[in-house]
């Protein structure tokens, strides 16, 4: 992986991916930011998709879970990591992502950030915090020319 995480590369942990589908709200708002901008990259390992499919199957049904996985597989960039690693953290680390979205307080707390910071430069945020702070217009000059053009794809396609 690169030494410096890329602010356009994001990992959404299983709870956020499942909430995007089953709950909506902040998780969907956060992921719509990424779905609407083709120059952002959602990163995920197979283990992360496995966990997400299992959670959706448990809370809804296996057919919906399989279709959701297929959609996520087409959208995300796949990364590998050792078995047994935390799928969200490891996907972010291996995939050079600057952001990890999670509802898990053990990852999003100030203490967790302090523990991680010496090892990885990763911003772990809840979806509502990410939706508030992730500004595509500020990032645009690092990936394109001219004024920020706004969203460039249908976030619900």
């Amino acid at each position: 992986m690169s030494d410096r995480p890329d602010p356009t590369r994001v990992v959404a942990d299983t709870d956020v991916l499942a909430a995007d589908l089953l709950v909506g709200g902040a998780a969907r708002e956060a992921l719509d930011r990424l779905r609407g901008h083709s120059w952002t990259t959602l990163v995920a390992s197979d283990a992360l998709l496995d966990d997400t499919e299992a959670v959706v199957a448990a809370l809804a049904n296996p057919e919906l879970a399989a279709d959701h996985r297929e959609k996520l597989a087409a959208w995300t960039e796949r990364v590998d990591h050792p078995a047994g690693d935390h799928p969200g953290l490891a996907s972010a680390y291996r995939g050079g992502a600057a952001h990890l979205l999670s509802f898990d307080p053990s990852l999003t707390s100030v203490d967790a950030a302090a523990a991680m910071q010496p090892h990885v430069s990763l911003s772990v945020r809840t979806p509502d915090a990410f939706a508030r702070l992730f500004d595509p217009g500020t990032l645009w000059p690092t990936v394109g020319d001219g004024p920020y053009p706004g969203t460039d794809r249908d976030p619900r396609a």
């Binding site: 709870d15 089953l22 969907r28 809370l59 509802f103 619900r156």
Partner: protein, 31 residues
Amino acid sequence: MRWDDLFERAAEYEVTVADVTEATETLRDDV
């Protein structure tokens, strides 16, 4: 398959963020 189609199918399930976080935690605790 559009995201909108998936969201429409998912809307029949009354799931909360607490449900999702608990299910994720349970899954990972069981590994």
